[in-house]
């Protein structure tokens, strides 16, 4: 509602008043956080449209369900652990405990790589049992969803590696903790996306 009030203000009536106006900055909320949230909105739009497309395409008669590889369950567990590790890294970051933060980051990164590797194994299993992308749209969507999701995680890992480098640069070291918090948010978000995608893939 405050937005509604904000945009119904008559700006010409109160020249000069600065009190309260400075609040436009929403103190404590960093640009990085806003940027990340906007980015997550973009990614949400991206995956949501894919899911809508998936549902629509499902209605056509040539749709054949595919047997989801069992390894996906294990992968899901790994991704949850990765997200947990990131959360612990973020907690450490808030207390400026650099070594603990670094360790948890590392753990989260490795777990994520394991997840991506696990997804690759799932692909191999599907290909081995003859579920080719071009033979049915359900298969194609499976590869597409898992691939794009893994691509987003890979982007996160790239960013995480960047943070690792920064930790070794004395002049940029202090910026790292706030970035780690963002990193954790991103991981939680991608976990959520995966859970939604996984449910969708399982049920159809």
């Amino acid at each position: 509602m405050s937005l509604l009030r904000k945009i119904s203000a008559k700006p010409w009536e109160h020249a000069g008043e600065l009190e309260g106006l400075h609040g436009a900055f929403t103190p404590g909320q960093s640009a990085g956080r806003t940027g990340l949230y906007m980015f997550l909105a973009v990614v949400t739009s991206f995956f949501l449209l894919f899911m809508v497309t998936y549902y629509t395409r499902m209605q056509f008669p040539d749709w054949e369900m595919l047997a989801d590889p069992k390894i996906l369950w294990a992968n899901t567990a790994v991704l949850i652990l990765a997200s947990l590790a990131l959360q612990l890294a973020s907690n450490a970051a808030k207390k400026h405990e650099f070594s603990r933060m670094r360790n948890w980051l590392l753990a989260g990164g490795i777990l994520t790589l394991v997840f991506i590797g696990g997804q690759w194994v799932a692909w191999e299993q599907l290909v081995a049992s003859g579920y080719y992308a071009r033979s049915n749209p359900a298969n194609a969507f499976f590869y597409l969803f898992t691939g794009l999701h893994a691509l987003h995680l890979a982007g996160g890992i790239w960013f995480m590696a960047l943070l690792g480098f920064r930790l070794n640069q004395p002049n940029r070291r202090e910026q790292v903790p706030s970035s780690v918090t963002l990193c954790a948010t991103y991981w939680h978000y991608l976990l959520l996306v995966w859970l939604v995608l996984f449910t969708l893939l399982l049920r159809t």
Partner: protein, 592 residues
């Protein structure tokens, strides 16, 4: 997500100014340099698209004359012309160019909040343009499937560029979307997080509002294009059947089966219609600032203007299927989409009224930017009105896919934004370079462009009513098209060449005035907004002096009763405003 804690920036003061030519003009992170890079690249690729339109007009005007235009080349020309103009020129120029230049300056920021990402955005954009242009040089040439890239035909034999062209086109679009997202996150975050002290949302100039909301639309709508692009790429390259049904191709059943071409269209237009407003909203914003400044009057109904921008932004997501009334989708959708489409006309009409009402009882300085404003209002009224024909499903049916549609969208999305862009360049050129653009050349440019483009597009509406189908390489003999229509087509082509030639004057003016233009000073138009209050003109890296500006008022304090001058800059505290009752001289310093 590389980010710099912008809040600390002001105290740190280590904006380490780039010194060498390379860091200053090539690998620059300065939003102003990036804006220029974006603009020049967009204009350059826009000129390519302009030449392509001339190729089309040669064929349409004189259908059996020029041996270098085969049907393949004609369809490649229309496809690339449309795609380049909509995406690589208008979107890039209005958001990448104007957005980059204006947002930090108008919000009182030193730069975008993520300068490195901003630089990256430009370079990826440039890469996308290069990939697009590369498709002219591969075997088979660029795709000729129409700018809407409708499957199945766009990836089937019988359409030019089916091998390399379409793949490069889709790759280029993916790159463009990546570039736009990096830029767009910057624009939105900068507006939300880096406004200077006192700059509330409702004190922002409408240019910023327009660009801000357009960017949000872009961020949410471009993913739809990305989704379609990725899936079409897979259909084309590895043979999936997302959009491809069972079909006959070159006498044999293809391996595709079960896909839905209509699904593609829904996704495409879910992006495609907001795209119209991604172009229109920044233009709306810029025109509002231009009209207020040059009519020396506050924009009439500022709040309504903001609300209208927001309303248009929201509604633009639920009107997409008005592009699909005759697409074979469930015809009952027509009721819903016709209604939403005509509803969106209401806030749009209010914006037009408010521009005219801003002029009403104003002090209109007929400067070159003002001429373009007036030209825009005229063409936009015209183009908006024909939109009411095409938005209304039963009226659309006889007109759909005819020259009427071409006339409509060129009037509303071609001529109108281009007039805004020209007006804006005449308006802000002094800030960018410190020199005025030549006035006489500007006026010739305006008159020739306005009358020339009207001569092109007005007749097209009537040819469309007659029933001339669009995207026809040649009309041939029909029972209903008289010879006069062909004569008109030739006339349109001549007008098109005239308009294109006139743009050379503008380009010459840009270069000539760079060194020969009259020095402009810091605020030649006596404008209130922040970008005109920078300590240096052109603004240096970091924009402001040691201290960020402080804003005390909204962006439109023109001709405030009791004030001595007819404008009060946003940075002027109430106690500093010189007052006077009778010693007013409205024209001082203004170029009129």
């Amino acid at each position: 997500m590389s980010y710099v804690a912008i809040a600390d920036r002001d105290h740190e003061q280590h904006m380490h100014d780039p010194q060498t030519f390379i860091t200053k003009y090539i690998w620059s992170q300065d939003h102003k340099v990036i804006a220029i890079q974006y603009s020049l690249t967009a204009i350059a690729v826009g000129l390519v698209a302009l030449v392509l339109s001339l190729v089309m007009r040669l064929q349409l005007g004189f259908p059996d004359t020029f041996s270098f235009i085969s049907p393949d080349e004609y369809y490649q020309a229309i496809t690339m012309h449309g795609m380049i103009m909509v995406i690589y020129l208008l979107t890039a120029l209005l958001l990448g160019g104007f957005g980059n230049y204006l947002i930090p300056l108008m919000c009182g920021a030193r730069d975008m909040v993520f300068p490195f990402m901003n630089m990256l955005s430009y370079w990826v954009y440039l890469l996308s343009v290069l990939v697009l242009c590369a498709s002219f040089f591969v075997t088979g040439g660029p795709t000729g499937g129409g700018w809407t890239l409708y499957p199945p035909q766009v990836i089937l034999p019988g359409t030019p560029g089916v091998g390399g062209g379409i793949v490069l086109m889709l790759l280029s679009l993916v790159l463009f979307i990546v570039a736009f997202t990096m830029g767009g996150l910057n624009y939105v975050t900068t507006v939300l997080q880096a406004r200077c002290r006192g700059m509330t949302l409702m004190r922002m100039p409408l240019s910023v509002w327009g660009i801000f909301v357009a960017t949000i639309l872009g961020l949410l709508a471009f993913p739809a294009l990305l989704v379609t692009g990725i899936m079409l790429l897979l259909d084309s390259v590895i043979g999936t059947s997302f959009f491809m049904p069972a079909l006959l191709s070159m006498g044999e059943a293809s391996e595709y089966d079960g896909g839905s071409p209509i699904l593609f269209q829904h996704l495409f237009w879910f992006f495609g219609h907001p795209e119209v407003y991604i172009v229109a909203l920044p233009a709306f914003g810029v025109i509002s600032d231009l009209v207020a400044t040059h009519a020396r009057k506050n924009i009439f109904g500022y709040r309504m203007m903001v609300w209208a921008i927001l309303a248009i932004g929201v509604i633009s997501f639920i009107v997409w299927a008005h592009h699909m009334y005759v697409s074979g989708m469930n015809p009952y959708f027509g009721f819903f989409f016709a209604t939403t489409t005509l509803i969106i006309a209401i806030p749009t009409a209010l914006k037009v009224y408010n521009w005219v009402l801003t002029l009403w009882r104003g002090d209109i300085h007929l400067t070159v930017p003002m001429l373009f404003v007036i030209g825009f209002i005229f063409t936009f009224i015209n183009g908006g009105i024909t939109g009411l024909f095409l938005g209304n499903v039963a009226v659309d049916m006889p007109l759909s896919d005819t020259y009427f549609v071409i006339g409509h969208f060129h009037m509303v999305m071609g001529v109108s934004p281009i007039l805004v862009i020209f007006g804006a360049i005449y308006h802000w050129y002094p800030k960018i370079t410190g020199r005025m653009l030549n006035d006489r050349m500007g006026r010739i440019h305006f008159w020739a462009t306005l009358f020339g483009t009207y001569a092109i597009y007005l007749p097209m509406h009537y040819l469309g009513i007659l029933g001339l189908p669009r995207r026809y390489y040649a009309m041939g003999d029909t029972s209903f098209i008289p010879d006069s229509a062909q004569a008109m087509n030739a006339g349109i082509s001549i007008a098109a060449f005239f308009v294109a030639a006139v743009q050379l004057i503008f380009l010459f003016n840009l270069f000539w005035s760079r060194t020969r233009g009259a020095p402009s000073g810091g605020n030649p138009w006596n404008a209130t907004t922040l970008e005109w209050q920078t300590p240096q003109t052109p603004p240096v890296h970091g924009n402001w002096g040691p201290d960020l500006p402080v804003v005390y008022r909204w962006a439109y304090d023109y001709s405030v009763p009791g004030a001595k001058n007819d404008f009060i800059p946003q940075t002027m505290a109430p106690e500093d405003v010189p007052t006077s009752d009778d010693s007013y001289d409205g024209s001082e310093g203004a170029h009129s």
